[in-house]
Amino acid sequence: MIKKIKQTKLEKILLIFIIILAIIAFGSLITIKNKCLFVKNYNPEKLKFKNSENIAILNAPCGNVIIELYPNISPNSVKRFKMLINSGKYNNVAFHRVIKNVLVQAGDLEFGKKKNLNYTYIGTGSSGYGTINSELDISFDFKKGSVALSRTEKKNTEDSQFFILLEDAPLFEGEYSPVGKVIYGLEVLQKVKYNDKVEYVLRPDFINTFKMLK
């Protein structure tokens, strides 16, 4: 006859501890794998906007980023930006330059397209529509969430690339042409894939779609 051995108190505690540890490990695994788990995805249809004709919706891997454009501040830059959005040029374009908690940059239509990604030249491509002049005269507070057109080291070289700030950058005033500000969903951009050691991202995240609300 097999003698039944009763669990000691210590063994019971140990068992409970192992079970808790397993639950935590499993939970963490799910959390780590799904970077978008706690990111709120805003539905523009359920939101009200004052200037709905200037609202753009950028859909990234973790959800929607809702941007208000400012044609009064940078008319030509916003005109170019809207044209590229409306023609679907930004769809499937990489967030090729991401600096954690500083900025995300996208919009290289030549070398940053999902089907034609060129790691050697990404960030140097153009739209094919030519460059436009910088619009720097009107004061603009470059707070977190500001959207502006990128350029080369020289002014008046703005084209299709743009960046969105993840931190305040007051020194950018007078340097870059602002086009708008994120009003909802900045946390979506904080989840865009980055690399700790380099600004340029290998196997980057992409803009799924970018369109105007109206």
Partner: protein, 246 residues
Amino acid sequence: MKFLKIILLLFILISPSNANTIYNLIKIPNLEIYNNKSINGIKYLRAYKPFQVGVRNDNVTCFNSNIQTIDEKFKLIEENFNKYNSDFLKKINLKYVVLCENLSVSEIDAGGVPNHRMKTLIINIKFEKKHFQRILHHEVFHLINQSYKDLFVYDNWKDFNHKKFNYAECSTCSSDRLNLSLLEETKGFLTEYSMSTPSEDMAEIFSFLITEKKNIENKALKDPVLKKKISYIKKTLLKIDQEFKF
């Protein structure tokens, strides 16, 4: 072509990822805003850690300075830079002034390092007290010179000097031409450092015109070479900005 691609990739891979927005603008790491509300639009930045920059082997080095040390000097610094209005600063491409201490270029102590392309002037706030104020304008002149290279013709300038005089090959090439003190007997040059290169000579004239105008104009009364040089700098500055006042 493959080799070129590898080089480009390497270049991308070594670019720092922890750069802040200031680094993005002027390519100097470890800086933060000290004051960005000046009347002429200059943004004053402070090094919170030492930094090394430069085209050749990061040859420009500067150390961080605590806020209290900068506070003590800032009034003087701002007063001097406020002599230039925002329109003039735009013309000469000066927007950012970096404040740090023990600045050196290739291990030689320096008062300032201008970078025309990045619209930046690095200032050594621990530079010799008696020359500190003047050195700010000396460095501003280098930005003026870089912005209007065609207007400052070195060969014409050299002709002002006595025929036997020759400048050194570079600003720090001659150890007996580094002193910044005003000479008693000028003989065409305000300081020993003026004798190093035409560009430094011009910068010395300009900086003295800003800080000790009457004194050097008096000296020029007895020094025809100096008189011509002062006149040249004044006339050329008026070509750049008709409202410029020394």
